[in-house]
């Protein structure tokens, strides 16, 4: 349902192109967020390989975000949610589904360790209860808007 500007051209065909895209977008390759603030060192583990993060780096579903003892990273997701992972942190974006037209949304993250500041976005507004965090001892169900999480 997310239509890239460059993928549409002229008015009469807009609607048709949109409908075609609607069914053909491949979620696996679509970025779900962007790194906005960071402090070295932060990395993502993606498909088993380590990727260094910097401002402007893409974030994908399934990424494991890791920060060292001096690191931190702030990410804004495509639904407008803002997630900040503090030093010595590890967080996995297990599921990010954002198809608002179908009300088909879900945002599930696993906090392995460290501290997290999170502000929910459109997913939380469209479907309160679909924003969840899993930690080693508990599950957190968020119904808007801002929480802080610490996992020791």
């Amino acid at each position: 349902m997310i239509l890239k500007r460059k993928q549409y051209a002229t008015q009469p065909t807009l609607f048709l192109v949109a409908l075609m895209l609607f069914s053909s977008i491949a979620m696996a390759t679509e970025r779900i967020g962007l790194v906005k603030t960071y402090q070295p060192l932060a990395t993502a583990v993606r498909n088993g390989a380590e990727v260094k993060l910097a401002e402007g780096s893409d974030i994908f579903e399934g990424d494991t975000i890791v920060t060292d003892s001096d690191g931190a990273v702030g990410i804004i997701f495509s639904d407008g949610a803002v997630l900040t992972l503090g030093p010595s942190g590890k967080l996995i974006v297990e599921e990010f589904l954002f198809k608002p037209a179908d009300k088909n949304v879900s945002f599930l993250s696993r906090v392995v360790k460290g501290s997290v500041a999170f502000v929910s976005g459109a997913i939380g507004r469209i479907s309160p209860g679909s924003v969840k965090f899993i930690t080693p001892t508990a599950t957190l169900g968020l119904r808007g808007t801002k929480i802080l999480i610490e996992v020791e």
Partner: protein, 197 residues
């Protein structure tokens, strides 16, 4: 780092949070306070007040009851994380006249705000989201909301915004700002929202 260590030591007494998960519900940038449930195999603690906190020490045990924390305590505990928070996304609304993709007169100053929001964030990540009111049928309203979004996107490009930095969505009458019955001429629903991330 030291403050955090002291906090952890204190919280062992206060919240029994030494080895587990602590959650704190805080107001967002707009002052809004939501709700959060902290659930373990032993039970659930519901938080719905600003600065309330609960901890889950072990997966098998019930979480602690809600405890109110001072702003200072929260700052000490999360200082390094809060210092790296990105500027929250800006959401701006541009309004249209009934049944058309013509901007309202006051829309020009809103465009200035969109450009300012992009500059502040050095953003290359935004959504242009078209909507309509409920006058007319659903499918023509979808088309109208797409035309409105397209018009805003083109206007932003005219103001120097790169088109690769935008995505576009449109919902017709299905996501009203003000819910109404069918066939209601509601100016607040004839809008395009620009979210600058």
């Amino acid at each position: 780092m030291n403050l955090r260590l002291i906090w952890v030591m204190l919280s062992c007494g206060l919240l029994a949070a030494c080895a587990g998960t602590t959650v704190v519900l805080v107001p967002d940038a707009g002052g809004k306070v939501g709700e959060v449930d902290l659930t373990t195999k032993g039970g659930t603690t519901h938080l719905d007040k600003a600065n309330d906190s609960a901890a889950a020490d072990k997966a098998e045990q019930a979480p602690t009851k809600a405890v109110h924390l001072s702003d200072e305590k929260i700052k000490d505990m999360f200082a390094e994380t809060l210092a790296k928070e990105p500027i929250p996304p800006a959401r701006l609304r541009l309004y249209f006249s009934s049944g058309t993709d013509e901007f309202n007169a006051e829309t020009q100053s809103e465009f200035d705000k969109v450009v300012a929001a992009i500059d502040l964030r050095k953003s290359c990540d935004m959504s242009v989201i078209g909507h309509s009111d409920t006058v007319g049928d659903n499918s023509s309203n979808k088309e109208l909301s797409l035309k409105r979004a397209d018009k805003v996107a083109k206007a932003l490009i005219g103001l120097g915004v790169k088109k690769d930095c935008m995505d576009m969505r449109y919902y017709g009458e299905n996501d009203p700002a003000v819910p109404t019955a069918d066939n209601v001429d509601e100016p607040k629903n004839r809008r395009v929202e620009v979210e600058v991330r």
